[in-house]
Assembly symmetry: C3
Homo-oligomer: 268 residues x 3
């Protein structure tokens, strides 16, 4: 995959405005919707069991996020996910806080067992805990524990038979066979809530227009990291509030030229 | 209605700080509350069936919004709406995403059947679907289908016996007999989530101080569009993030002079 | 308590990044999480009865906020609160809108009866209504009624056997025996939704690192007010949108030097 192909996928997101159905947490709904709109996608949030199957039926991607889960919401996620599977609509799953409580781990594993996940995205601790490894996690943020994220991602991809994205200082993307590292991004993203969640939804938007999901996810990761870098270039050390707003701006402003100039990824 | 009358209503909102009770969706709660505060109104959000009747009883307007509906929430809306009707408190209804799923259409129609709506605000697809016309809608955003919004609004107002506001490139406001067009506004509003929802709540704030609801809604529409125009004048093409923040600023900053200088509406 | 001690507590928040478990309302989740992140704390939101006890068990403070309450949420709050009490984790309670409806007053009192509260924070009307005094409240905002906030706070602290913080033009902090007044802050905070709620969570963050809860709360109040003053100094009268973002910036930027220079509190 090269920068021209990435740019083309971004362009298609902006032209086709794919409808992305998000069943997500109450902390990030607004930021997720604004991020998707800024990028050029069309967000919809719908959780009621009476409508999730219909809503996913008109969508181009489904994003599931357990940040503020409860049993009813998980039921809706599974119902929507199964419908998406039947219709061939990609399902992107963000197991927020898996490992922080037994309930989160259990529900994340239930979703993965019931729904065929296209792309699983989390921090290292979340992915490890989904796999059943006891990796320390701090609430919904990655803990201090360091490990080999590449190995972890490959293990997860093989065991769960899905594309796995582990974000951190460097992002890992793998099918279990093919693995990419992306080094775009900026640590200030960890100071704005929901930047991981929004990334998952942005992967959804890219997956909504590009059938090759490795290409879609890799493009989304690179694009997202570049937007963060451009935002930092603009706001410097003004603070996390200004960064959040400028990041939303940059999701609309990153160009093909930016991708060619700044993309930093490699296949392992 | 002229600009002096509009300015006076805006001034009364800022002086009387009407309490607006919102039963709305989880995507826009924060933005709606901040928009109402910025304007000078006093927002409250309360959904529990145990308290909605009491809360509406101390409010000057009730805003219902089905953006992330479920049956329990709709029950609370109907309970609050019936109480508002008994007390003579205006009810503003935003049928977000009506037509996107059968459940939304059904619930929107249920609310309209059970509650006397003072002002119904939506995009063309939502209003058409509430009326039972199969108009294409894309999630919660207006679809591509073009039609005669004036005719649609007048039909809806007559059939549903309420004031109808259809927002779009031009906004239509009608009682079925008297019709206004408002051309203030800016297309970047569609790149910020909840700007339609917030407009509905702003109509609520204006209706909270002005009994003539056509005047209240027309003033709200014009004021809101001018705020968007002034925001664009300030942030240019910095992006949707900056626009969102400057728009919140302008809701506090639009003056009587701005209304006299920029208001662009006409009676048909 | 002096400015050096305050600065040290702030420094410890930023070094230890205490995990703060918030069971809060859907209007302020995003703003609360961003404010805590900006300050240097680590926010988590979890409401499900299946996990709140586990989540509080890994947290350094628990914040309860009834802004958009329902019975299920209150049950989760009580469960989490009792667990926090057993584990010796401080519980900060924000009785949003107590007095606005009988349901809110009743639920606030239920929580106080079931859970040992470490710090109770509200506006004067909320605290009065929690105490059973019929003090006028306007939705979730303080009403017009003026009273002696110091007396009210001392009464509440004695009756409820907890530290009480009443915020307003001047903030009062009291154990019932020892009382402080803080005059840092800015009235524009009332034009941004959730600034009271976020303050309650910031008190939680400070209480997460400092066992002397009077020192923790007093430091939090002073720090928070200084952040607001510095934000105003930066954005002037640009409007509530810009103030909101700059305030988030300042939560990250306030230094020990700022505390020494700007802190304005006194013991009565």
């Amino acid at each position: 995959m090269n920068c021209s192909e990435m740019s083309l996928i971004l362009q298609r997101v902006r032209e086709e405005n794919p409808l992305v159905h998000n069943i997500t947490n109450v902390v990030v709904t607004n930021f997720t919707a604004n991020g998707l709109l800024s990028l050029g996608a069309s967000p919809v949030m719908a959780n009621a069991s009476e409508e999730v199957a219909d809503m996913v039926g008109i969508s181009r991607a489904l994003v599931l996020n357990i940040g503020t889960l409860n049993r009813e919401l998980v039921s809706s996620m599974i119902l929507a996910g199964k419908t998406a599977n039947e219709l061939g609509i990609p399902v992107i799953f963000d197991p927020v806080g898996a490992g922080a409580t037994p309930f989160r781990t259990e529900m994340a594993q239930l979703i993965i067992n019931e729904v065929k996940i296209s792309v699983l995205r989390g921090n290292a601790a979340e992915i490890a805990n989904v796999l059943g490894e006891k990796w320390e996690i701090k609430g919904v943020d990655a803990g201090e524990q360091q490990g080999n994220n590449v190995e972890l991602a490959i293990n997860a991809a093989k065991k769960l038979n899905t594309i796995v994205v582990i974000t951190g200082k460097e992002d890992v993307l793998t099918t279990g066979e093919t693995t990419y590292l992306v080094s775009n991004g900026h640590h200030l993203l960890t100071k704005v809530t929901g930047t991981g969640c929004l990334l998952t939804s942005v992967i959804g938007a890219f997956a909504g227009v590009e059938k090759n999901l490795v290409h879609a996810a890799l493009s989304a990761l690179t694009f997202y990291g570049i937007a963060a870098e451009k935002a930092i270039e603009k706001v410097g050390n003004m603070g996390p509030g200004s960064f959040q707003i400028e990041f939303l701006n940059q999701l609309a402003l990153v160009t093909s030229e930016d991708i060619h100039q700044f993309a930093s990824f490699k296949q392992l």
